[in-house]
Symmetry: C2
Subunit: 651 residues, 2 copies
């Protein structure tokens, strides 16, 4: 290949010969044809259907491998032993002691009765344990999704006036969220989750945490009439109105004192790593203590609002509550989609970070399938949207979990609580739930990370700030929309205005660098070397690049008119970044060639990408420019230019 290619390029070779050994002059034009378009388009799908290596797969082994992919429990279950179980049992029990009060609190955030939070901590963790591939992820209801669900659905039905219709909407949205999540995984659309960037997530979570805290004022202050809106202004107005009415400060005293207790245990748990279990069981201790306190002092008669009745027993079926006809189907599907993406974003971020700490790989698409099936099953058994919780996953990991069995232990414990303990929660004050949620929100507000984003990338900080302010003063949806709009605007700006850099040679080498980035690089005289810093030359940027190059050539010539000792005779374009081109790009290169030709300037190309070479050949652009003016490296191209020989010493 190499030798036949070099024969066909004898003209160019003669010029280069003096500087390089001849065998390296391989032709950029004689590479094999690139893989066809369908190959590239179907690659991710084939990859998904045939994950195992083809050479070693019989049908039986293929089925086994697909099953193992779908149910990772089949792989790790074989190696499971008693010692691992002891670790998982302890982790699961710790998890349950944190999960039960949190679940009840999040249910109230989602405007559902307390038992629905507990239901959501039973079925989804069981499904995830057999289908999910993360070992640490703790599944259950989370604060942000609970808020998102209630803030969007209570526009359609008021949970206080018509709880039955509201529940129908919740389960239908959960079903849609599950369908979307499973579909993302099956069709390998995992990239959709990436559309919410890291910075957007930081801003969004911070805003959501503040909004959720404000919602807790209802429980903490014992306000009866609260706003259904989530923005700061509406909530502050509602609080101001409530203050002018008679209220019971006992709720505040109770809530605040236990909040202080929770924060102190949290602080101790952070400082002394061995006491990690203290903040994990502190919520349960608070619930027990406060319930006893209220029960003994009968404070519920004096204005302390309590949970009162919780329906016990296992999750009832909710299959008949799903609605697939009527005017609410489209809004539920939309809510499902937004919640699916937010839930996946949180679960992925948590799962991936713990997987990378433990040094294993988490397949995003498989995780999405597992989450999808777990939410579909949840929607049929009175659960609302569950996902991986950050705070509980951290506790799970600290408590020494080894496999997803800790989720099973937690689910069984919650189930036992539903069967046996719901009556004991009658006197639990609502203010305690508010303080438990408040104490768990601190982890969501990450000022340090926001500052780090500001330091590194100003546009990302703008995205973060946009999401934060949007959530705080608009709504959760507006925050998301602002974040996505800002992050995509930057990408489009980059696409339509790629850099075109002037290159210079670093003295004594064959290395060509941007003269702006490396001021020691020297431009050759009579020759302009440009590099297109875009990975494609498509309709969005081709004309712009062409015009910029034409303008620079003109400027350089104008300068030389003032100092006419050497005019530009060649323009070398380093195309090594350009991997693809479309017909608009081809036309732009053609026009550029013609324009330079009319000025008596030779267009020389270095290292165009595979597809670019292929398409230039098909469009006869190679013949137009001339085969001998297309090179593998900028060095060869420069050597071949008529008046640029041997001036790399004095630039």
């Amino acid at each position: 290949m190499g030798s036949s290619a070099s024969e066909s390029r004898s003209a160019a070779e003669n010029v280069v010969e003096e500087s390089n050994p001849p065998e390296i002059v391989i032709s950029v034009l004689n590479t094999p044809a690139p893989p066809p378009l369908w190959h590239e388009l179907t690659w991710p799908i084939r990859e998904g259907i045939f994950p195992c290596r083809k050479e070693s797969s019989s049908l039986f082994r293929h089925v086994i491998s697909v099953l193992c992919g779908l149910f990772p429990v089949l792989s790790w279950g074989k190696r499971y032993d008693g010692k691992t179980f002891r670790s998982d049992l302890m982790a699961g029990l710790t998890l349950a002691s944190l999960g039960i009060p949190q679940s009840i609190g999040y249910a109230s955030l989602a405007k559902l009765d307390p038992q629905y939070g507990l239901y959501t901590s039973v079925i989804p963790p069981l499904i995830y344990a057999v289908m999910g591939s993360s070992r640490e992820l703790a599944i259950g209801p989370v604060a942000v999704v609970s808020l998102l669900l209630s803030s969007m659905l209570q526009k359609l039905a008021d949970p206080r006036v018509d709880p039955e219709s509201y529940r129908k909407l919740v389960f239908t949205s959960t079903f849609f969220a599950g369908i979307f999540q499973a579909a993302f995984g099956l069709f390998r659309l995992g990239f959709l989750v990436d559309f919410l960037s890291h910075a957007a997530t930081v801003g969004f979570m911070g805003g959501a945490a503040i909004v959720i805290s404000l919602q807790q004022l209802k429980g903490l202050l014992g306000i009866a009439h609260f706003t259904t809106k989530t923005d700061v202004v509406s909530v502050m107005e509602a609080v101001q109105n409530a203050i002018h009415q008679p209220w019971h400060p006992e709720n505040v005293y109770l809530g605040c004192s236990f909040l202080i207790f929770l924060l102190i245990t949290r602080f101790i748990g952070r400082r002394i790593k061995k006491l990690f279990w203290l903040p994990a069981i502190a919520p349960l201790i608070s619930v027990i203590l406060s319930t006893l306190l209220v029960f003994m002092t009968r404070a519920d008669k004096h204005g302390v609002i309590t949970i009162q009745h919780i329906k016990g027993g296992l999750n009832p079926s909710s299959a008949k509550l799903l609605q697939f006809t009527g005017q609410n189907v489209a809004p539920c599907a939309k809510v499902g989609l937004i919640c699916a993406i937010i839930a996946l974003t949180e679960a992925m971020a948590v799962g991936r970070s713990f997987a990378s700490i433990k040094g294993y790989h988490l397949d995003g698409n498989k995780e999405m399938v597992a989450m999808g099936f777990m939410n579909i099953a949840g929607s049929l058994s009175s659960c609302y949207i569950a996902t991986g919780s950050f705070s509980r996953t951290a506790v799970n990991c600290s408590a020494g979990c080894k496999t997803a069995v800790s989720n099973i232990v937690m689910a069984i414990t919650v189930f036992a609580a539903l069967e046996l303990l719901t009556r004991l929660l009658y006197y639990t004050p609502v203010a305690i739930l508010a303080s438990i949620i408040l104490s768990s929100l601190l982890g969501l507000i990450d000022i340090g990370e926001a500052y780090a984003i500001w330091e590194v990338d100003k546009v990302d900080f703008l995205t973060c700030l946009g999401a934060f302010i949007g959530v705080l003063f608009g709504s959760v949806e507006i925050g998301l929309l602002i974040a996505v709009a800002i992050s995509f605007s930057r990408i489009i700006w980059n696409l339509i205005r790629p850099q075109v850099d002037i290159l210079g040679r670093i003295q004594g080498t064959d290395i060509f660098c941007s003269i702006k980035q490396y001021p020691m690089a020297k431009q050759a005289s009579g020759l302009l070397i440009l590099r297109i810093d875009s990975s494609f030359l498509y309709f969005v940027n081709a004309n712009m690049i062409k015009e910029r190059i034409a303008k620079w050539v003109k400027e350089e010539q104008d300068e030389i008119e003032e100092n006419p000792k050497e005019r530009i005779k060649s323009v070398v374009i380093d195309m090594s970044n350009v991997k693809n081109i479309d017909t608009t790009g081809i036309a732009a290169l053609e026009e550029l060639h013609k324009k330079l030709d009319s000025l008596g300037i030779q267009l020389v190309m270095a290292n165009p990408g595979w597809l670019v070479i292929h398409k230039m050949k098909l469009a006869s652009l190679v013949d137009m420019i001339g085969e001998k003016w297309i090179f593998l490296t900028v060095g060869e191209a420069v050597e071949a230019c008529p008046n640029a020989k041997r001036d790399n010493g004095n630039g």
Copy 2:
């Protein structure tokens, strides 16, 4: 700079020393800080406001230069002489002889009375002549924009039932189109015109030409009741219905015989370049001959439909017809925006191709400002949207025009015709106008170009076909929407799934190439060299790239398990394509580093872009990876890897 940089990198230098002279080891980490973000963002605006070089500009010269930019006539007017005027006079008269019948025809396509087409050939060309920078562009109404305008506006008001309201909509849309065009130019949003790719334009124009031809069946067959829809199916149904009613074949005989005459002159004009004027004046000859024929035979009494009354005199003011209140403002703005983009696309394509033939540069943003003001002025003086016409510009150029004065000559001639000749057009048959439009449409259907697009780029062909079929069977808007959707889908696909190539060394050199593209390149043992083929590492692709690299490392290690003589000790990532990074990208690199570290593999980077280096330093990623593992070239990076020394001879 070079020497201080090399001092600070002594660790890396020691390793490289043996292969390269020490003075070339410049540090990629010690480059000056890149220009701040606001500099890059405001650059196009500053460039627009201060087009001239700063060092030589006093206030007076600055004003002069801005004026010259806005009114190019001030530059070329000074050098204008009698000889140039003779050329322009001839070109302008030829242009008028083609323009008058075409303008009347296009007005009927726009569902307006004939005189509005003539009005549109008076004011806009005069404005363009003083503000535009193209020398050849012939301004006036064009077929596609006329069709677009009528197809979108007749949904809001029926031109046959209520012509007054319809005209109000037309002028309001024209005003908005002008505002949008001027705004695009002033805010340097010229790239918006590029969003309609070359392939999309070919498909769109082809579809529009067929749709316009079908509309001409009304005039050619003398059908009284025609459909207001533009798609093929509706038009065919309308024609079928009309055939069952009494009709007058005289219209068809007349129209077809003159169509044949026009096509023959067109053919002769193409073959014999000296007779270019023959197809240019053939429409005028047809109009005169057919009018005389009808006048003498009184054929209008026997079913031949004629134009009848045309209101003479100069353009009346239409300022009072503009509507800025009521429900139709938003639809008019939308129609204005679509027409503005289509009109600019056509004018830019025509203007740029003739400018490149004549070897001068056309500033897209200035052209847009000129077009915008010309349409705003037009909307106040009873003109509808004008733009540069392809067929008339070609005639103008062949007729030897030298400057925009030919547009002035044409405008004055059309004005004279409006004053003196409108009464003579009473007997002109409508079928002749249809045949003139039909003959001018052939240039819009470019099957050869569509085939060339198919040959070079299949996705582009899909865009072209989508636009064509969308216009033909849906509507003009659907066609545009399909084309834009297909072309942007490809870009998004490329963004989210960039290539990551495995590189190999070309034997005996320091050149590293993709082993797929250059099969002669050999991979080094114990070392994986990868190149990220994306110009940025942002949230949309960072995780995907990280996971693909992690997967490859795993695959390579699995292979080596089978053949365990050399395991991978380093992964070299060639970042030379990556010009920018966001915080998600930084986090992805950090995770990749941690993951490789946990496998005992060193991450080595070569030639990251300017901003990438800067942000990696700010995010402390450089310290984490280690300064000594970041190099300027892949060659240096490979040399520094522990077990890769001196194996470039045997791969």
